[in-house]
Symmetry: C2
Subunit: 260 residues, 2 copies
Amino acid sequence: MGNTFYITNPTNEDLNNFINLYIERYILILLARCKVFYEGRAKSQLEEGDRLIIIKPDGTFLIHKDKKREPVNWQPPGSKIFWSIERDCLILNSIRRKPREELKVVISRVYHACAFKCEDYEELNLTGSESEMAEMIFKNPNLIEEGFIPISREYQIPTGIIDILGKDKDNRWVILELKRRRADLQAISQLKRYVEYFKNKYGEYRVRGILVAPSLTIGAEKLLKEENLEFKKLNPPKGGKRNLNHNVKSKKTAVLDEWL
Amino acid sequence: MGNTFYITNPTNEDLNNFINLYIERYILILLARCKVFYEGRAKSQLEEGDRLIIIKPDGTFLIHKDKKREPVNWQPPGSKIFWSIERDCLILNSIRRKPREELKVVISRVYHACAFKCEDYEELNLTGSESEMAEMIFKNPNLIEEGFIPISREYQIPTGIIDILGKDKDNRWVILELKRRRADLQAISQLKRYVEYFKNKYGEYRVRGILVAPSLTIGAEKLLKEENLEFKKLNPPKGGKRNLNHNVKSKKTAVLDEWL
DNA sequence: GAATTGATATCGCGT
DNA sequence: ACGCGATGTCAATTC
């Protein structure tokens, strides 16, 4: 199958041809010795060493060291690439327009280069997100409390977007802030910001704020109590087969037997 | 130089040997057709397609589609990898202990595999960060205002960590919240949280809060004014040669002529 | 190990 | 294009 090509210990001329052939259509992978310079929102330099360089057809540019999940330098999708040979080095230049950012890689040696034509028509199907928590609450409002009525989802106010706005059995406004994982100080501040806006509009005693999350950090719990906000423990749903398929566009393949 | 090895269109036996030889010592790169299953903090599946798979010696596991900066699935450093051949497929299993997370890749075809021994002793040298803004303010407090005296950096209170705590010319407490980029609603809430704690302690009129950033979002600007907080426009310093070297451990190489 | 925050955060969804 | 918030955020630092 002709979807992968490679060269090993190429000359600069070989490299130039290789890049010309495959750039912007294939994923390009370089195992190379290089220096890296970045300037844009910040500025950095990285002295010479061996790194893994990836250039995707969408303009994504990644430089990985042999450690960590994060690339040491990068450019996002949409960046434009330029290259040249100077002083016996291959120079890669990736430019982002807005904000203006430039990533320059000076490659002294390429050990191995591959080009890979990715045929991939599938999208990730994820469950256990905050938006699935919201759906669950709308379907079964009693998960929050007896008599809770959800009214609006992602309700916009000047100070942000309320996850779920509803009313309780005594007709008070209820503002829900959802977190799919342990909630921190920032989550409490966010909820407080929304509650304050509503209290200014409808009066102190007509508004409640409830943080909905699996748990709270210590600091968050203290602040929550001081601010007279409430907490409702709730885990995000991690659907089995049925829920996993909730957002699936294609259902071609069944989940592996072993997986369940 | 024997730091890179590769096989093309390998049999499962070839692959098994290849992985055995290089895993945990080399960066392994697979260009492959695969399905991916993840379960841990959330849960996902990805149906069959071509992807780039990277396994670093530190346990980092990355699966990249041909688009976007982010891997579609991953495991962080420290994850443990297991592999086997089942039903004519290579199965890669990467396990993280805390939180318990499992990433399973079912590979039906490997087009090309490389192993790369990365020799890299250099660390990234970055300038233009928030911590450099703080240093700049300590060195030249007048950047904030005439008579400002910084007292403490990263001062901890129950509701968080104050970037810079100081006093103004009238001996009022001044709380600075720094942002290296445009500040949003969240930044204002954060500053407000700190200011409220100090006002409770020292009284309404003995405390000021100043957001220090290059700019504000519209919503942030409105909320800032409503809350009687202040704004001081300041850009993070992106050092030239001198500042660039501020945190440098090794100064082996000079910045490329062309770069400056 | 828990908590807190920064990041060249990236990404997606609104207006 | 800008504003805003979620993310399996990651990674560093401090307690």
